[in-house]
Amino acid sequence: MTPAQTTLLINARLIDPEAQTDHTGWLLITAEGTIAETGTGAPPKADQAFDLDGKCLAPGIIDIGVKVGEPGERHKESFRSAGMAAAAGGVTTMVTRADTTPVIDSPEVLEFATRRANEAAPVRVFSMAALTKGRAGQEMTEIGFLMDAGAVAFSDGDRVTTNTKIFSRALTYARSLGALVIAHPQEPILSKGAAVTSGKFASLRGLPAVSPMAERMGLDRDIALLEMTRARYHADQITTRRALPALERAKNNGLDITAGTSIHHLTLNELDVADYRTFFKVKPPLREEEDRLATVEAVGSGLIDIISSMHTPQDEESKRLPFEEAASGAVALETFLPAALRLYHDGSLSLPQLFRAMALNPAKRLGLASGRLAKGAPADLIVFDPDAPFILDRFALHSKSKNTPFDGAKMQGRVRATLVGGMPVFGAL
């Protein structure tokens, strides 16, 4: 569907992640649903015009690593509920994970998921496929067929391919096809069974813990394999300061490596777990404050390229358990933007810096034309009021699962409208 007429948005605070600018202007959308032009002077004529009254206009968020419960766990999240949550949260493109039941590791399962996504979700959905069959780390998947079926990246999710021989072959094979491999940098044996990051808090609570060094060891291994294979690689979540120098060196050495982090690791720390609150149990576990600050700084400098929500729906039964036994993960599609805006309000990051990490960089890494305010790009846009205050009520979320760490939190920033291809999918202009 296309808007069929031209739309002009005036008096908008344009957040341009490519130019790194933040100023008032206008934006014209073509009848085909693409961006025609932006400007600051007198606006051109259009079939319809809307005054945004100084609200922010930015490219829609592109969220790599969203878990949807289809196939297998539809009671936790369906494409419909995830899509509604995404639209309400300003996420115009979800890149879904392959850690479903069954695993998305064959073109047939991928086609099922894609069909369901297109039927049910109001936003764009792209799928990742598993790197190894059943995410078991033994045999690589049919990377070529899966790419033909639309897989945009290959990842075993939070499971590390421990067999380096298998992993290096998969990287080499993926490289020959130009496929992007997304890995979870973590030393799997050191982190086995861990529920929190080691340190004073873990000792106080008596919880099994992992040293933050496990992340650096995992990243170091993967970087060595990249030197061998020259594959296209993205580290899903870098969350500790000790991993950053290795990442910087790898980039300077010309390896095709990018790194992400999660919105939770940018806005929460290990102490938020407090009295064993399982909604704060994520993977990797929340880190100490120094690590959070270093991670925020790395997003600002561009060393960390991408912020993801790592949206992971879990039902109440999986979370209402003793901390060690409780499932990891948090829903985040709808809280992604207001949580990110905490970093804007506290002066750590500018809006263009945030949207570089939430829209432009993920688009570039996946080869998508969206994620920017450029002429010809799809009009995947969001209008938001960065200051609007609210108290989050988890039961008001669109996700079927309500496991958010921000329940009852005071937040600022609400999406007023979400456009996909120029068509409103949430709110109104």
Binding site: S198, L204, G206, L207, D275, Y276, L321, P322
Partner: protein, 322 residues
Amino acid sequence: MSFTQSHLLGIEPLSPADITALLDLSEAYVDLNRSEEKHSQALTGLTQINMFFENSTRTQASFELAGKRLGADVMNMSMQASSIKKGETLIDTALTLNAMHPDLLVVRHPHSGAVDLLAQKVNCAVLNAGDGRHEHPTQALLDALTIRRAKGRLHRLNIAICGDIAHSRVARSNIMLLGKMENRIRLIGPPTLMPSQISEFGVEVYEDMKEGLEGVDVVMMLRLQKERMDGGFIPSEREYYHRYGLDAEKLAYAKEDAIVMHPGPMNRGVEIDGTIADDINRSVIQEQVEMGVAVRMAAMDALARNLRARRFNSRAAMGTLV
């Protein structure tokens, strides 16, 4: 009495006044337990359920005896054999029990924080009888009572806690309690059995046992928790005994009148020499067991008083009091 908590989940939330109040009340029960007629009416009409999700003979027996001496109806549920195996969650188990209107729940669980979670879901008083590696508050209280009786005070003592600190909830509760009462605490053990950043808890850490025992008033030994170890913490039991087992030679570094404690059950010849454990001039291990019953009676008595006061107040507030 200053102790006003609804539950006894750990030492961490207690004030020094709470601790002193519980110990003072315990003293009265020590006397009662040594008399011919050991019964009190403190828990008459109340129901106490002991839920042990982890094996325990000693602690469970101690709680059972304490409840019976106070006149409660005591029921023991061995949870590792029951519905947990059938997939029932901890919360469901708690709700099921709650429907039976217990007044006191005594809970032991292999996971840290599990007892806190359960306490949020029931409307009776909950006593933590040990959760994972987190806390074991009645053990710390009974250790404190033993020390106070042996040393005449519970402050400004040099106390060494030795051995497997990492896996020990007893150590955590003791560090918390003895720290609150202003003692100097030394932790002695191999670095593989020390929790991370433990020195930030206001303790001194020693890897050399003789150095650590130099001039201490109290030597508290811990059991090597082989069942909680997933391999590779120590090279062998004989090397562990050689370096960290309490024998006469190492004990000679402590003060002449230093007492020796152990929460039991002991691994003789692993962390402690049998003759020291049995030396009535040094070892207070049997006394610890005796204090255990008194402390648990005091804790349940105090919690029952608070429970009755809360129920009285809520009835008064609803106007149903006649």
